[in-house]
Structure formats: structure tokens, C-alpha cells
Amino acid sequence: MSFQTITKDGVAVVTVTNSRLDASIAPELKQVVSDVIEAGSTRIMIDLDSVQFMDSSGLGAVISSFKLTGKKGDFVICNMNESVREIFTLTHMDRLFEIYTSSDEGFARLCA
């Protein structure tokens, strides 16, 4: 099990439980988010707290999840470690996503 989903107050929190979000599991993330949206969620947070390493496939899956969700304010990411943040910085995706340093902040934002 590489992902865990909890829905609370209408917000779906998708936690990546694997330490690597790489090409071998990135397609699963897309699927998990797509299932969550199918089930009715419109506000989504991706929690990367356990992720030590992410490659461009992981980034692609996050971008795809964002596109599926549709609106910027309804999609947030939290708990990026330094090396994960680097891939967002290198690709300038840090300017595009709403990124929070804790899940509480991210969750509060989605409930606002």
C-alpha cells in the first residue's frame, strides 16, 4: 500500500505512504486521485510527509492530479522535504502550486 486516503469535512487527504514517489508508483497516485474525485471530492490535499525522493514521474502525477481537480484553490500539497522541494523549484512548479509546510495549514486552507 503506497497511498492512504481519508475524507474529512469534504476534504480528501491523499497521503503518500511510500518513501519514494517514482515512476514505479506514480501512475497509482493518478488513479487514487481520480477515484477520489469520482467519489465526489472537489477539494484535495496531497501529503508528502513520508516521501524522501520524487522523480519527474511523481511530479507528472501531481500535475495530473491538479488538472483533474480543476481549480487552484481546491488543490494543495503539504509536507515536502528538501529534495522533493528541489524538483518543484527546478521546474518552477513551486510558483504554481499552493504548498504548505504542515498538513494542518493545508487542511485549514481547504476548509476556509
Binding site: D22, S56, K67, K72, S83, L90, H92, L96
Partner: protein, 156 residues
């Protein structure tokens, strides 16, 4: 250490790439590099190995990807080799261009690409990237500069 070399080999299976990534990260953490973290070296190598598996071998298991990790006092060179389909010429040309192209932050969300980031990421973390094919072997070579050694100050 002045120089060293180790070769790593895995099968063309995406679930095995993490082993190369972890080994490369710990090996490069022993060398002080100029402008690259061990995690960036890992990222570059993982992107290259993923590409060998997904593109050169079209995700077919049972093939081999070789990674050679070699350094001297100035430079770390990591070569990723496969025996599959060569890189298309337009990608090789892009490797040779010095600039890195990332979509700008102003691009609309819907037009953001979900793939095609790998080669740009490679280029942005390595000092130099070069590609060659020889005897059916494709070889992508990534170089990183080593930080100049700090010599102990000797009293005059």
C-alpha cells in the same frame, strides 16, 4: 579519495531503479560536489535509468541497464547504458543545447505537461550531459564537478 569506480547493473524493471538511486546517493555523498547535492545526483541518474527502461526498452522486462560511477579529483562521471532503441535525434540535439527549458509559471494549468520533464531536469542538475551510441550500446554520460579540495593552511 583521488579516484574510484564502481559499476551497478539492474534489470529493466521500474521497481528496481530505487536500488541504483540509493547506491548513487550514498556514493556521491562521499564526494564533495560543486553545485550538486547527493539528492540531485540521484534524481539525474533515476531520470536517465527510467528513460532507458521506458523508452529504449519500451518498458519490456528482462533487459539490462548499466550504471558506471567513476570519479577523479576534478570530476564525477556517471554513465547510464542500455542496448535498446537509441534516443531520437531531436532529444540528442536538445541535450547538446546549453539552455534548460521549463514551462513558464504563467502557462495555463490545463496546458501544463504531465511528462517530458526528465531530460530538462537532467540538464539542470548536471554540469555536462553527453550521449553516444557505439556497437548497439547507448550511453548517456552525466558529469558533475568536484569541489576544489580545501588544503590545510601550513604555517610559513
Amino acid at each position: 579519495m583521488e579516484s574510484g569506480k564502481i559499476n551497478l547493473t539492474i534489470e529493466s524493471d521500474l521497481s528496481q531503479v530505487q536500488h541504483v538511486g540509493e547506491a548513487v546517493r550514498v556514493l556521491s555523498s562521499q564526494l564533495e560536489l560543486d553545485g550538486a547535492m547527493p539528492s540531485s545526483v540521484e534524481l539525474a541518474v533515476v531520470e536517465a535509468v527510467n528513460n532507458s527502461i521506458e523508452h529504449a526498452y519500451a518498458s519490456e522486462c528482462g533487459n539490462t541497464v548499466e550504471v558506471s560511477f567513476e570519479y577523479d579529483k576534478d570530476c564525477l562521471q556517471i554513465s547510464i547504458s542500455d542496448y535498446g532503441t537509441p534516443m531520437p535525434r531531436k532529444i540528442v540535439e536538445m541535450l547538446d543545447q546549453s539552455e534548460v527549458r521549463m514551462p513558464s509559471g504563467h502557462v495555463g494549468v490545463d496546458s501544463l505537461p504531465e511528462s517530458g520533464w526528465g531530460v530538462q531536469l537532467l540538464k539542470s542538475v548536471c554540469h555536462r550531459v553527453s550521449y553516444a551510441r557505439c556497437n548497439r550500446k547507448n550511453n548517456l554520460s552525466l558529469s558533475f564537478k568536484r569541489a576544489a579540495e580545501k588544503h590545510p593552511i601550513t604555517a610559513a
